[in-house]
Symmetry: D2
Subunit: 274 residues, 4 copies
Amino acid sequence: MWPDSEVDAVVIAAPARFHADLAVAAARAGKHIFCEKPMALSLADADRVIDTARAAGVVLQVGFNRRFAPDWVAARVLVEDGRVGTPRLLRSLTRDPGGFDPARVAPGTIFLETLIHDFDTLRFLNPGSEVTHVHAFADALVEPAWRDQGLLGTAVVTARFGNGAVGTAEACFEASYGYDVRGEVLGSGGMVTMGDGRRTGMTFPGPAGRLVDTARGDQELFAGAYVAELAAFTGAVRTGSPSTVTGEDARAALAVALAAAESARTGRVVEVAK
Amino acid sequence: MWPDSEVDAVVIAAPARFHADLAVAAARAGKHIFCEKPMALSLADADRVIDTARAAGVVLQVGFNRRFAPDWVAARVLVEDGRVGTPRLLRSLTRDPGGFDPARVAPGTIFLETLIHDFDTLRFLNPGSEVTHVHAFADALVEPAWRDQGLLGTAVVTARFGNGAVGTAEACFEASYGYDVRGEVLGSGGMVTMGDGRRTGMTFPGPAGRLVDTARGDQELFAGAYVAELAAFTGAVRTGSPSTVTGEDARAALAVALAAAESARTGRVVEVAK
Amino acid sequence: MWPDSEVDAVVIAAPARFHADLAVAAARAGKHIFCEKPMALSLADADRVIDTARAAGVVLQVGFNRRFAPDWVAARVLVEDGRVGTPRLLRSLTRDPGGFDPARVAPGTIFLETLIHDFDTLRFLNPGSEVTHVHAFADALVEPAWRDQGLLGTAVVTARFGNGAVGTAEACFEASYGYDVRGEVLGSGGMVTMGDGRRTGMTFPGPAGRLVDTARGDQELFAGAYVAELAAFTGAVRTGSPSTVTGEDARAALAVALAAAESARTGRVVEVAK
Amino acid sequence: MWPDSEVDAVVIAAPARFHADLAVAAARAGKHIFCEKPMALSLADADRVIDTARAAGVVLQVGFNRRFAPDWVAARVLVEDGRVGTPRLLRSLTRDPGGFDPARVAPGTIFLETLIHDFDTLRFLNPGSEVTHVHAFADALVEPAWRDQGLLGTAVVTARFGNGAVGTAEACFEASYGYDVRGEVLGSGGMVTMGDGRRTGMTFPGPAGRLVDTARGDQELFAGAYVAELAAFTGAVRTGSPSTVTGEDARAALAVALAAAESARTGRVVEVAK
């Protein structure tokens, strides 16, 4: 059906386990590809997508939407300008408002589908260096009943970069106050922080204290970023310019996620696969 | 030209002195009207626009964009919900980043074109009551050379409402830190504040201290509001529903602005015309 | 009793109407004087205190504690450093948490005992210029039953300075969220704001939203300032250095308060007495 | 000298390696003891101090000053009230403004003298549970020349508690923007954050953006906490009530610090000694 010649590009937002096959099929059909994260669940699959897309000459962009969110864009500018200096400590976290359906969670979900955003963010804000080793502590704190099935709802991953910087990626599947995505970079020149969680700039001081108007869901935090990443994609397709969030980016974040999952399983520091 | 039958609606963004005539002509041609503020420069002209639009059965919406900005929308919700209680003290301010061309400034400009936003905001957040008396102090502090020509660049207007509440509207044509639009309502139940001036949620603590990422221009603060007000307008045109920012709203804010200008001239408290 | 030779200095914190007589008596007894605001309720009484203290050679310091609060101290430094530039617009406000006893409120109380803090603050942050004219809107919004007795619980005073700057002083006897004291100065070089209302830097994002830990009473906001002003006083007594908050400061703020009370009564702009 | 019968209590603020011996000697002389952290550098020494103080019946309080800082006090109240719920993720960090003298730094310094504050804070905010395992990544990023001597200036420690919660403790010996101490607890009921880094509530929006007035040194952040911890100590001495920061607290934080240092050395997860 969709080899239809009137279709130039596809957006892949199916369950994660279908991403790689769909992307390969799209590339073979000559379609440009916007693929939600994770692009693949194994490095071999990631390579397959990258290679097929390159051979087909199609644009391949991955859905790391935070790279298009205003706070993160502004932070990256300061890092690139050199005002933050050499990154030393980084942090990126994702907390969901809760209500997860265990049927949709697999043992690796928190690493491969949630923290993969944070691994990408850490790379995005420490450009030119890659994560070499990771350690993870993880548990089923949100739903202790999940523990027997190996389903994890809370995780803290520390990641050592080649340039010595250490990043912390943290996720929890439930935050009573709503979706929470934040980050910070401490460099030799200063710090930059991202994510203040506000829905608007409104505040309400009342009998209970001062309430800040915060976001509950990801649409409130990232509506603009979702638009901007698709605009970047269609722009790349129209102008033939290269994607700014590449298959290689997807692969690098995946390698960190796989190592983190292994560390959580084994209790050991794990070297990230090349 | 624009009685063209393919044109359903017009946006009037010409210099203020042409607004009323253009709106009347548009109404007579059966076109729906989105008119930038101020809709008119005299109450007689405002009445003429309102009457013609009503007779023609066209939508008439005025460009009070703050009513569509997230902070102000959220504040109004709290006022309408009763959580703020009865408003007692209100504040609304507008500060431009500067660089005004004196050729584009007339003696009444600060009241009729700048503070008119704030007068509308005060009304928007104290619904059901109208300003009855105003007092203004104004001067040419930004450009003292303007003083001889009666051009004002700084003004503070206090406005007493029929329900006893007092609003303060304040404007300055130059703020070194960029466009600044804020407000607050103190009611019997609590306070609500609008306008934190941030461009993004990013912060940069560095050797000079902690820098918050603030907006410089109105496009950074109100891009979404400009889109939303036009979406509301086209929605009203499509569905035939009434405008949410009416000619009567424009007239009421204008009446306050004219009284404020008179107060600045005479040094006396001025009753707002009905 | 207190001419006792072992007493060097007195703190006057009696009801306001006794301040001037107590201060004069203390000065005559050769005691250094820390006098709570207002130092006097008439300019004649203020002059009497100033003259007697000068003749007696005693230190006379007035209880404008905000001058010793960290935010205000820091703001004043920026003003004196020239970083704020020439002040154009100033604001100072006082909101009490409520529960006032009408027996302790007289018609002038809001001007003479509450807003006098704000008038002093406006002078403190626009040094070298004095208020020449004021206008006030005031009402009994907190307790409408007070209106018949002329007791005011809400007031907004605008004050024009000799250098053209305009200050707004605003008070309300009830804020559901607690004691609220804030201010700002917009100058040609930038803005400075004072008073974030926080009790601690703690925040609590929870199901109801994000709560900021705010102060309820003045002791939470100004405990340090109360200590610092007394330390400054005892320091002046010990070292013989002049007071930093003088009888002349008290007199100047009083003159503004009296003019504001008259404006609220007459509905006219009032010139401040020299 | 200090067995002098007029001395009731001692404050031990000597270099860390002398703490335990001094504390034991003080206890034997019957003096109450306020001992700066770390109370000891080995668990055996910690036990010796605890046992001697207990046998002597003297008060023993350790200098974990953050327990007395307003943000942390307020956070603990929310944890104890149950409003935060069961802690799941915790964070505590310490960043010094820099300028460390390498002669005063030993390989374990960052764990035993800096992060020990954070280990105590994590315990303070997850009461009733203890850290069982830790992992550390550490390096000499601030002064790469230190690396050869094993001197570490940057470290990230993750700590797993018995109740499944995971804490992150992070330190860096240099932050260009000044001393930075922060923390947060994510629980099943909500989050609480501590440490906003502000020196005052003043802000300065100017041509460079909006500057928030932040602290540079620890005296600006913790002056009140230093006073409060000593007031608590003297209060305990006077009333005979038990210390609120005990030798056992010091020992527990030390056990975590020793395990973290070992993890940094070995690259393995280390079980915390009982």
